[in-house]
Symmetry: D2
Subunit: 321 residues, 4 copies
């Protein structure tokens, strides 16, 4: 088991979209992200309180999906230590230049084939005159429109064997498993893991289609449940498709809203209230099949598409090492 705190946090996602222009508009008008650059088929977007250069990369592609998830190491030493550990697993790919503003990035996959990048060096977000906040302890001005999403919150992958992928995160990267679904046959149907005091950063859910490398959703943090309700009103009149919610999850107790961005990727807005995992000896919560059958916290039944809809990894892209 790797030591905790070597991964500082989930930092960035690169999403694929077949409708780049519309997906960008969704990110700016609905999520309240700001375009901070573009290059070729990629557009870089920043959430208003992300200290880093950008939060999300949208990349034009023939299908929706997730290309890569970036984690930031806690220090140069932690980066070296984790790369060594990854290399012993056979899942390492090699070093790449990294996203704009991100330093040298070590690429690897989880056992299910989702690609990750791990880096330490990071350029901090530089405001323009227009995006300079009134308070200097904030990354950028609070957007008037959209949700607005404060920062990336978590990524929920689909995978063949959530238990194996959870083990990879725990053993190699030092994640903590906070909650999981344990089926009656003893297998793990889903696992929530964290690198921080947030109750989860990376989640694996069993892929009901038996596929590898798919994305269930990425989530952005909203500042309050009230903001998520307001986002529903905005979604309604912007024509954003709401899949399910708003409601509160039983697992992790997150207040949620699930929408699809125009490219087809599922996006969650989430807020956990003041919930944090502070206990160093956290007692992992295992949910049984019977408990899961009760639906969400306040009784909402999980809808069918939630069990099937996912977007694939970019397995046909030439890997950029």
């Amino acid at each position: 088991m790797a030591p905790r705190h070597e991964i500082a946090h989930l930092a960035h996602v690169q999403l694929l979209t077949p409708k780049l222009e519309e997906s960008v508009r969704f990110c700016t008008d609905f999520l309240g992200l700001r375009v901070v650059g573009s290059e070729g088929d990629r557009v870089y977007l920043h959430a208003w309180d992300d200290y880093q250069h950008h939060t999300l990369t949208l990349r034009a592609h023939r299908h929706a999906g997730i290309a890569r998830t970036h984690l930031r190491a806690a220090s140069p030493e932690a980066l070296r230590g984790r790369v060594d550990a990854i290399e012993t697993t056979g899942y390492g790919i090699g070093w790449a230049d990294g996203e704009p503003g991100f330093g040298p990035t070590y690429l690897f996959t989880d056992p299910d084939g989702h690609e990750f990048g791990l880096y330490y060096e990071a350029e901090w977000f530089q405001c323009t005159e227009e995006t300079r906040p009134a308070l200097k302890n904030q990354a950028a001005a609070y957007p008037s429109g959209g949700v607005p999403a404060r920062r990336l919150d978590h990524v929920n992958f689909l995978g063949r064997t959530p238990g194996d992928n959870r083990d990879f995160l725990v053993d190699v990267l030092g994640a903590l498993t906070t909650e999981q679904i344990m089926l009656d046959d003893g297998s793990v149907a889903a696992a929530w893991t964290t690198f921080t005091n947030k109750s989860y950063d990376l989640v694996y859910t069993r892929d009901n289609l038996g596929l590898s490398g798919r994305l269930h959703h990425i989530a952005f943090a909203a500042d309050s449940r009230a903001d998520i309700l307001r986002a529903c009103d905005v979604a309604l009149d912007q024509g954003v498709f709401i899949e399910t919610g708003p409601h509160k999850h039983a697992i992790q107790q997150t207040f949620f809203l699930y929408v699809y961005e125009p490219g087809g990727n599922r996006i969650e807005l989430c807020n956990p209230g003041a919930r944090l995992i502070l206990a160093p000896d956290w007692h992992r919560v295992d949910w049984t099949e019977a408990e899961r059958a009760k639906g969400q916290a306040w009784g909402l039944k999980t809808i069918e598409s939630f069990h099937t809809h996912g977007t694939p990894t970019a397995d046909d892209l030439t890997r950029e090492t």
Copy 2:
């Protein structure tokens, strides 16, 4: 005393501003109003759930202030009845064409000299393709940005003798006084009156500078206290000047935020929760000097500018009869 329910509601205000362009930008970017037309030195703005053609007219002028407040009569008969009543008081001015989308409008002043327009005929708001809401029981699409203000809520005038003006509203227009401040000398320092189930529509506060015809503020309805808190964040990074709040008034218990629009007029955002005046025999609440000295509901002391800052009426404009 005039019968109640002849005035349907406060409908529209025409504000003066020496900085038309900036005031318009404040209305669109901060309040979340939409420009629905302009003509000469006037810009017409619509709040997203106002059923009428427009909610606010901004008019370029050499000083900030209020030109006119419009009330909508409950019926053609009510209009005729109220005009007759006004004419007996000597405060009548005469008929005018009215704002765009408003039918024939009878102009008059209150005893303090604030100009009013009373009308019945009204064009309903027509959506464009872009402003059409998803739900047809809503006037226009919910704006993604700004507060957004749902509708005009109330007007608070400054005046030499609030009691006389209150009497005018009650006796001639059928208003109900719901709360007032009664000084130890028996004079009325402020009076809150309503034509509806809202706890106030028009307010008179004694002008501490002894002037006539000034405006203390106009107020827009926000859907929740949470929206007003969010508006504070937006104001901070848009450079909107917050005079006082957010806090809750002791009188009327309205949750409030006071800002100045760039022209200098004070604008309130307000939310009363689910408070309504339903009792047909409402027991008017009289606040004493001692009670007022306690500050606002949760203890905030009223700041000095709140007692002095006001913007004048357009007394030098040629009246447009």
Copy 3:
């Protein structure tokens, strides 16, 4: 068509419950009502900002249901006028003593058989030392626990022919129909009517079981959507059954939560934001079958029990004239 504004507001409901003690506990612990008296098999409960003596009567009975709905007339003259009008319809029953604190009450039914009481004289709520609010423009102290419900908001009846009952309210009592569901065959499946600036006070929905006199739900006003979310958390840990919600209605745009009180009656918590009906020439909104098939505002599908569960009127009680 009766003149508007003769009925001041929906004032009170008498509910039947087979589990009086548990229903009372639900009202105090979950809704945040206060017991203000009891007599025989009846318990009187007060919502914290109701100006009247009490808001709800719970009455022990062998089944759940609604015994009577009280409306307050706008004046003694309005009371006489409406009683005269009712008597011409054949639906009048006669005068009764009324609830404690309510003056002489004229009993009648709607065409579907739901019993109503109409009165004018009303005792205002008298605080005890313990329930005295800090601010004197409030009926009673704000409860620390439960929702808390500010006041009764509306009653939604089930009935054989919503259109006939709507006509009765409009023609005899002066209600305004603000929205309705118009089926493809031209019949009215549901109608929302109001006596106030609230967008609805009394609602009729077609009874899918073909029964008469049943109740769909009564609703209490919560001050914000945030309070309703909080109520969900309270419900979860108090074991209150949540039927559906929280979500936002397409019709009337009310944010809602539906629960069952222990006796079996459906109770709604509702909040419309700052929405009011101010137009004296309101354009009634007719929803088609196709539009209704879209579910609630943000996409929630209406659950089955919502179409069938109702609680009957007390048709076997000896009427107390």
Copy 4:
């Protein structure tokens, strides 16, 4: 500089009160804490989502104040390491039995004389039938009444030299300084430090009275800004004294409310939205005197008592080693 992550989190405070019974009632009725035990002059209180045995100890004393602050080490090894480090500073006191449910506790003071206890072994909160939550990933049932406070959030000490105390936390315990006030003369007027991803856990503010060992306030986490507004309404009618707020701090951007508990200690309710410190290379924010003169985030001026009111440490108690 000590390694980070050896202190898991701020865990518990022991407060002194001259009015034990009233202070307990404040904690249960207003804060929504639960009494989970008592012994002699001490009452143990639990916040609903605290995983530990109790969150706060109230101790009868002749004056208000703070007796001790507990920190939980991240592991047995971390506990040993920190105790060794503390002992080299001369601020160590020795081992004690600890609070009920807390294992062996090492006592020490900061340079200013505030007493701390550091421990690792911890009993998890055991629910009774009555406090068992519906969801098993929650420590105890959500209270219907009061704020309710989810957990202890931070402690703000007054001290002669905030810089020295900050250094102690950083050098000996591995805290990170996230923000501070740097006066024009180069001295540190206040410093915010954290052991977690929360933006602060322990704060030192210069004591304007030049005293040592005093407490400015302890803070409890509320789940939303809406909950804090609601708490204002509850405070008003429970007679809880509100010192200042609700408003948003410029420093750390926390939404806040300050009240005094009946014993005289200042208590804060706080909510930071979704703000977290995730950057491993966080750029400390230093506020200048000029920046501080601007007041709070939305313009509220800091009131006088905020600069002076504090409650002392129990320096006359026999230390219990």
